[in-house]
């Protein structure tokens, strides 16, 4: 052991050229700049982390698919009803959300997403033409944007918009962009504390399988001990959160998913301009944890309740807006039913600071 005692090279000095701290001197301070404002932050303490980039895989256990006969506009019916067991419904889920502007007074981010859905067990040579369509891969390619604009230190405006191309197209024969489905939501809300945020607004959505305009409620909350919380964007999703620690979380609740898939590949359907209106409710549990630093893994499992899987016809290229039957009771071209399987989803995520 060697002793190094008070060598001549040492310099023990306080680093302060100004004054020592009394913490109370920091209590009532003004901004150095006149007119400087405080703005509320989009972040709520304790919330599950936002995903910047994600790679996921989704799968469902077997379920039965009962497809109706196809009723053409002229009243003719073709293609028999058919029922089959779909042994596996699965596909990748990819996406990214990149901040474009990230300032105190404005947060704007843009995102891209790509989902695939493949069906196993359907086979080919089916008598029902829609059943035959399920030997193709259903794709969703979308772009989205979110703008968070704080009005002051408590109030904010939130806008979300997206455009999705849904169908059984391939990348070598992609659908026209005229078939893009547009969704949007605009909300006004308040952030009374760092642990609570609520907002109300209106949304244009395809979540229940067809176009609807519905009110939406946002509510994010964390309790004082940072153990329990709620993450709600009703009616799209609502979850209760249990925080084991800031790197491990459990969530339980429901989520509405839905798209309108254009039946593009088959020329019969193209001539008829038909779309599958898909809507489902997922009840499940989700476990999120940090693998390392900002790399998180989320694993979900639950029960999928099919809400709608009907085929609809476009009128002169326009969707029929039924407003839950209030504005139109036009029947669907095909009214189908799916039984309810279990679902599993795993995703590797790069999360946001």
């Amino acid at each position: 052991m060697f002793q190094l005692t008070g060598l001549g090279q040492v310099d023990s000095t306080s680093i302060y050229e100004e004054d020592e701290e009394d913490y109370s001197m920091y209590d009532d301070l003004d901004f150095a700049e006149d007119g400087a404002k405080r703005y509320c932050s989009p972040k709520i303490e304790g919330l599950s982390p936002a995903k910047l980039i994600y790679f996921g895989y989704d799968a469902m256990t077997p379920y039965s698919m009962s497809l109706d006969s196809l009723k053409f506009k002229d009243g003719q019916t073709e293609y028999n009803a058919e029922e089959k067991e779909v042994t596996l419904t699965h596909g990748i889920r990819l996406g990214c959300n990149i901040p474009v502007i990230s300032k105190t007074s404005l947060v704007w981010q843009m995102g891209l997403n790509y989902w695939e859905t493949r069906f196993s067990g359907v086979g080919t040579g089916n008598s029902n033409i829609l059943m035959e369509e399920h030997s193709n891969t259903f794709r969703t390619l979308g772009i989205n944007t979110t703008v968070f604009k704080p009005l002051d230190d408590k109030q904010f405006i939130l806008f979300q918009g997206s455009a999705d191309l849904n169908g059984d197209y391939t990348f070598s024969d992609i659908m026209s962009l005229s078939y893009l489905k547009y969704s949007a939501a605009i909300l006004w809300g308040k952030r009374p504390t760092e642990k609570k945020q609520w907002a109300v607004g209106l949304a244009r959505t395809y979540r229940v399988g067809e176009l609807n305009y519905i009110p939406v409620i946002l509510y994010n909350w964390t309790d004082a001990a940072n153990k329990w919380g709620a993450e709600v964007l009703f009616p799209a999703r609502a979850k209760i959160r249990r925080t084991i620690n800031p790197r491990n979380m459990l969530l339980a609740g429901f989520e509405l998913q839905g798209q309108s898939y254009r039946l593009y590949k088959n020329t019969t359907f193209r001539n008829e301009d038909l779309e599958i209106r898909r809507g489902e409710i997922r009840l499940g549990l989700e476990y999120q944890f940090s693998v390392k630093d900002f790399i998180w893994l989320s694993a979900q499992a639950g029960y999928r309740i099919n809400y709608r899987y009907d085929v609809d016809r476009l009128e002169n290229g326009n969707e029929i807006y039924r407003a839950f039957g209030l504005l139109s009771d036009e029947p669907y071209v095909m009214e189908n039913s799916l039984s309810n399987p279990l679902y599993f989803n795993i995703s590797l995520n790069l999360v946001s600071p």
Binding site: Y26, R38, T104, P353
Partner: protein, 158 residues
């Protein structure tokens, strides 16, 4: 001739030294007390050696609601350092002044989740900082705007 050369060399050396000192002084503009946009904390930025560090000097909620004791760094990934008091904790570390109102090579620590991010500080005006914490590349990050606070001086040191 010899005199001219010596004078030139000396002048160049003086110019370089002046530039270095000026750079060093310019970097010191970061020093002071600043408030993040959420208003939940106040951070004093100071210099140790040639680097700049920011420590929390005020918290809006200084006490842990569960225990009633002053908050500590309970989310630190290093369990042995979870008793470090948050008030006084250096959440900004190792910033080096690079010129053009930019301080780089530093990190910012979020005590809410125990995560440390790469960070760059840009002074958009003498009373405003753009503090950008990011993961890997600056594009994957978030900017928070910090405002300088007026600090009332007390007794000066002996």
């Amino acid at each position: 001739m010899k005199k001219i050369i010596l004078t030139t060399v000396f002048s160049v050396m003086l110019l370089c030294m002046t530039a270095f000192v000026n750079q060093s002084n310019e970097g010191d503009r970061l020093k002071g007390v600043w408030e993040p946009s959420n208003g939940r904390a106040r951070v004093k930025i100071e210099k140790i050696g040639e680097k700049y560090f920011g420590k929390i000097v005020w918290l809006k909620e200084a006490k842990d609601p569960e225990t009633g004791n002053p908050k500590t760094d309970k989310n630190n990934p290093d369990e042995s350092m979870r008793d470090v008091p948050l008030r006084g904790y250096r959440m900004l570390k190792d910033f080096v002044y690079k010129g053009d109102d930019v301080w780089e090579e530093g990190t910012i620590y979020d005590p809410l989740n125990g995560s440390t991010y790469n960070c760059v500080i840009k002074m958009s005006d003498p009373n405003t900082l753009d503090i950008r914490g990011y993961i890997g590349v600056e594009a994957l990050g978030r900017t928070d705007v910090w405002k300088r606070l007026n600090i009332k001086k007390k007794k000066s040191k002996k």
